[in-house]
C-alpha cells in the first residue's frame, strides 16, 4: 500500500501576465518505510513539490491535482486539519538548519513545543522526551545541550536538532529537502546514517530531495529524476544508475568526473526558465539525441519494453552506455 500518492500535481505561480507552471503533471507513489529520492538541478521544481505536500507554498503559488496521504486528500483539507497533520504525521527538515531554528529559544523548548502542541504532553514531560530525542539523534550530553541555544551548536548538531524535532511525534512521512547540502562530507554521511537508522526503527518513509546523485545511489530505494517541473524518469535507484533510459539522466551521469584526464561530456546549454520552456519535449534543446518530432509533441512518461517509466520518444532505441 502506498503511504503517499501524488496524481497529476501542478504547481503554478501567479504572475502579472498568465500563471507560470513550475511543476507539471507530476505523479508518484511513496510506500511505507521506503526512501524515495527526488533528484534534479536547481529550479526543476523538486522543492515546490515538497512544499505543496506540506501545504506551505509561498502565497503567490498554488497547487492543483491530488495528493493522497493515508486516505486524505491534502489539497482539499482546511487549514486547521492541515495544521494538525503537519509536524505530527508529516514532518520536514530543510537545507539550512540555522534559518529553520528560532535563535532566541532554547532547543529544548523548540523540540518540546511540537509535543505539547500535537500530543498534549505537559511541559515537563515534553522536556524529558526532548532529552531522550536528543539522545536518539546522537547528540552528546543531551541533558546539557537541551538548555542551549542554536548558535552554540555546529551545523551538523543543528541538523540533528531539526531531525529530533521532526521525528518527535513519530511521523509516518519525513520530507528531507537537501538535508546535508550545507554540511561537510564526514558530517553528511553521519546524518544520512542517522536518518536511515530512524527510518528503520520508526517505520517512517522518507522523501529525500537532493541534487547529489551519489546520495541517491547510496540511500534511496526508488528515485525520480526531475527536469523543468516534470519527472523524466522513475525507477529503482540501482536500475536508474545501471540502466538509465532518459538522455537527461545519462547526461547527468556523464557530467560526473570519472576517468582522469578524459574530457567530461557535459550537458550543453542551461536549464530554461519556466516561462520560456521549449515546445514539445522540454529537454529537446539540450538533448544530443533530438529528432524533429521531439520539438513538436511532449512525450509521456511511460514504460517501454517492460522497463521503468521514461519520458522520451526514443527510449527504446537509446541504449546506455552509448
Amino acid at each position: 500500500m502506498s503511504l503517499l500518492e501524488i496524481r497529476d500535481l501542478n504547481v503554478s505561480f501567479r504572475t502579472k501576465a498568465s500563471p507560470t507552471k513550475v511543476v507539471s503533471n507530476l505523479s508518484l507513489d511513496i510506500k511505507e518505510s521506503e526512501v524515495f529520492g527526488l533528484v534534479g538541478e536547481s529550479g526543476c521544481g523538486k522543492s515546490l513539490t515538497a512544499l505543496s505536500i506540506m501545504g506551505i507554498l509561498p502565497p503567490n503559488a498554488y497547487a492543483e491535482g491530488l495528493i493522497n496521504f493515508n486516505g486524505k486528500d491534502l489539497l482539499m483539507l482546511d487549514r486547521e486539519s492541515l495544521r494538525r497533520l503537519r509536524g505530527r504525521e508529516i514532518a520536514m527538515i530543510f537545507q539550512e538548519p540555522m534559518t529553520s531554528l528560532n535563535p532566541v529559544l532554547t532547543i529544548g523548548y523548540q523540540i518540546s513545543e511540537v509535543m505539547t502542541t500535537h500530543l498534549g504532553l505537559s511541559k515537563k514531560d515534553a522536556f524529558d522526551r526532548a532529552v531522550d530525542l536528543l539522545r536518539d539523534v546522537k547528540i552528546p550530553s543531551p541533558e546539557i545541550r537541551v538548555k542551549e541555544y542554536p548558535h552554540q551548536m555546529s551545523g551538523g548538531m543543528r541538523q540533528r536538532v531539526m531531525i529530533a524535532m521532526a521525528v518527535a511525534c513519530n511521523p509516518s512521512l519525513l520530507i528531507a529537502d537537501e538535508p546535508t547540502t550545507a554540511l561537510d562530507v564526514t558530517i553528511q554521511s553521519q546524518i544520512l546514517e542517522l536518518l536511515q537508522k530512524l527510518r528503520e526503527e520508526r517505520k517512517m518513509s522518507i522523501l529525500l530531495i537532493t541534487h547529489d546523485l551519489g546520495i541517491i545511489a547510496e540511500n534511496a530505494k526508488k528515485a525520480a529524476i526531475m527536469y523543468a517541473g516534470r519527472i523524466v524518469e522513475l525507477a529503482e535507484a540501482g536500475e536508474l544508475f545501471n540502466n538509465p533510459g532518459h538522455p537527461y539522466t545519462m547526461g547527468l551521469l556523464d557530467s560526473l568526473p570519472k576517468e582522469k584526464g578524459k574530457p567530461l561530456k557535459p550537458i550543453p546549454g542551461t536549464v530554461p526558465r519556466p516561462d520560456k520552456l521549449p515546445q514539445g519535449c522540454k529537454f529537446s534543446d539540450r538533448c544530443r539525441f533530438v529528432v524533429p518530432p521531439c520539438r513538436t509533441e511532449e512525450p509521456e512518461l511511460k514504460e517501454v519494453d517492460g522497463r521503468h517509466p521514461v519520458r522520451c520518444i526514443r527510449a527504446a532505441e537509446i541504449k546506455w552506455p552509448y
Binding site: 561537510d184 562530507v185 570519472k258
Partner: protein
C-alpha cells in the same frame, strides 16, 4: 622550479574575550609547507574551518601571516612594494566560489573584463573591445554579451565571466577557491572542461581549493589534505586516491557518496583493512565533528575522531614526514 613556495606559514587570528580574560587565538593555519610548480594543479582539500581559504588569502597577499613565508618566483611576496607588488598582482589571480557575489552588479561585462587591462596598461584603449571579445571567446561565451549586466546571466555563465576577468592579465597562477561548489552538476562539468582546456593552452598553474573529492581526483596533480590548520597528507593524486594512508583521508574518501560509475571507490570497509589494524581500531559508529580551531586537541589534531588512535596520539604531535613516497603526518606511518 617551483612557481609558488609556501614555507612554515602560520596565521593566527585573535579572538576577542571579555575584559580581564586572556586573549585566545584561532589557529587558522598552523605551520604548512607546499609548493606549486608551473602548469600544475595543486589542490588543498578539507572540511569547512580547516583553514584552506585562509591559505588562499595569504598566498594572494590579501592578509599578512603571523609567521612564515610565501615565495613567488623566488621572492618573498610580503616584502614586495610599488612596481614589484603590481607585477605580483598581475601574475596571481583569483576566482571565487560565488559568482553572484564576486561580480559588480552595476558594471557591464565589458567594464568588468576591461578593468584589469586598463589598470595594468596591457591594451590600448582602441583595442579594448577586441581584447575583451578574445577573452570571452576563450571562456566559451559569445562576444555579443559585452554590454549586458551580471544579473542577466546564469551561475555557470557568471563563473565564465569571472574566469575571463582572471585571464585578462595573463596570470602565471590562478587561485580558485571552491569555484564549482555553487554550480549544478551539468554546469560543473562544463566549467571543469573549460579549466582543463585553459591548462593545456596557457600553461597556467592552479592552486585549487575544494571539498569535493570527485573533482579533486579528476583535475589535480598533487593533493594536500588539510585538517585544523595542518597538512595531514600530501601526495600525488593517483597515489592518494589509489591508496589513502592517513585515517582522516580514508574517512573523507569513504564519506563521499558515490554513484557506481565513478573512478575511485574507497569503500567504508577500508577501515577494516588488516594492515592498519591496531588495538581498538574498530570504526567508531559515530566519528564526531571537527573540533573548534580555538581549542585544537593536543597531540595529533585528528586523534579524538580517529578510529586508529593509540598510545602516543594524544600526546605527541606527529611530524609531516616522508613515508611510502608521500608526506604524511601520522604515528602509524612515522613511528616517533
Amino acid at each position: 622550479m617551483a612557481l609558488l613556495k609556501v614555507q612554515s606559514l602560520k596565521k593566527h587570528f585573535p579572538v576577542k574575550k571579555a575584559f580581564g580574560e586572556t586573549a585566545q587565538w584561532l589557529k587558522a593555519v598552523d605551520g604548512i609547507d607546499f609548493s606549486v610548480d608551473e602548469n600544475k594543479v595543486f589542490v588543498l582539500v578539507g572540511e569547512s574551518g580547516c583553514g584552506k581559504s585562509t591559505v588562499a588569502r595569504l598566498v594572494l597577499r590579501l592578509i599578512t601571516p603571523t609567521s612564515g613565508r610565501v615565495l613567488f618566483d623566488g621572492k618573498d611576496i610580503f616584502g614586495l612594494d610599488g612596481d614589484s607588488l603590481k607585477a605580483f598582482r598581475k601574475s596571481v589571480q583569483i576566482v571565487f566560489q560565488d559568482p553572484f557575489a564576486s561580480l559588480n552588479p552595476r558594471k557591464t561585462v565589458f567594464d568588468t573584463i576591461s578593468e584589469p587591462l586598463k589598470i595594468h596598461r596591457i591594451t590600448e584603449k582602441k583595442n579594448m573591445k577586441d581584447a575583451c571579445a578574445e577573452l570571452l571567446k576563450k571562456v566559451g561565451l559569445g562576444t555579443d554579451i559585452m554590454n549586458r549586466y551580471p544579473h542577466e546571466f546564469s551561475g555557470g555563465q557568471r563563473q565564465r565571466i569571472c574566469i575571463a576577468r582572471a585571464l585578462a592579465v595573463n596570470p602565471k597562477i590562478i587561485v580558485a577557491d571552491e569555484p564549482l561548489s555553487a554550480l549544478d552538476v551539468s554546469i560543473q562539468a562544463q566549467i571543469i572542461n573549460l579549466l582543463q582546456d585553459l591548462r593545456k593552452e596557457t600553461k597556467i598553474a592552479f592552486l585549487f581549493i575544494s571539498h569535493d573529492l570527485k573533482v579533486v581526483h579528476y583535475f589535480s596533480d598533487t593533493v594536500a589534505v588539510m585538517y585544523l590548520g595542518k597538512i595531514l597528507e600530501h601526495a600525488k593524486t593517483e597515489d592518494l586516491f589509489m591508496e589513502p594512508l592517513h585515517p582522516y583521508t580514508i574517512l573523507l574518501l569513504s564519506s563521499a557518496p558515490k554513484v557506481k560509475t565513478e573512478a575511485f571507490s574507497v569503500q567504508r570497509s577500508a577501515f577494516s583493512d588488516k594492515k592498519l589494524q591496531t588495538p581498538n581500531s574498530e570504526r567508531q559508529p559515530d566519528i564526531g565533528e571537527v573540533p573548534s580551531p580555538i581549542h585544537i586537541p593536543s597531540g595529533c589534531p585528528f586523534h579524538p575522531r580517529c578510529p586508529k588512535r593509540f598510545e602516543p596520539c594524544d600526546k605527541i604531535i606527529p611530524e609531516l614526514k616522508e613515508a611510502k613516497g608521500r608526506l604524511i603526518s601520522c604515528h602509524l606511518w612515522n613511528p616517533y
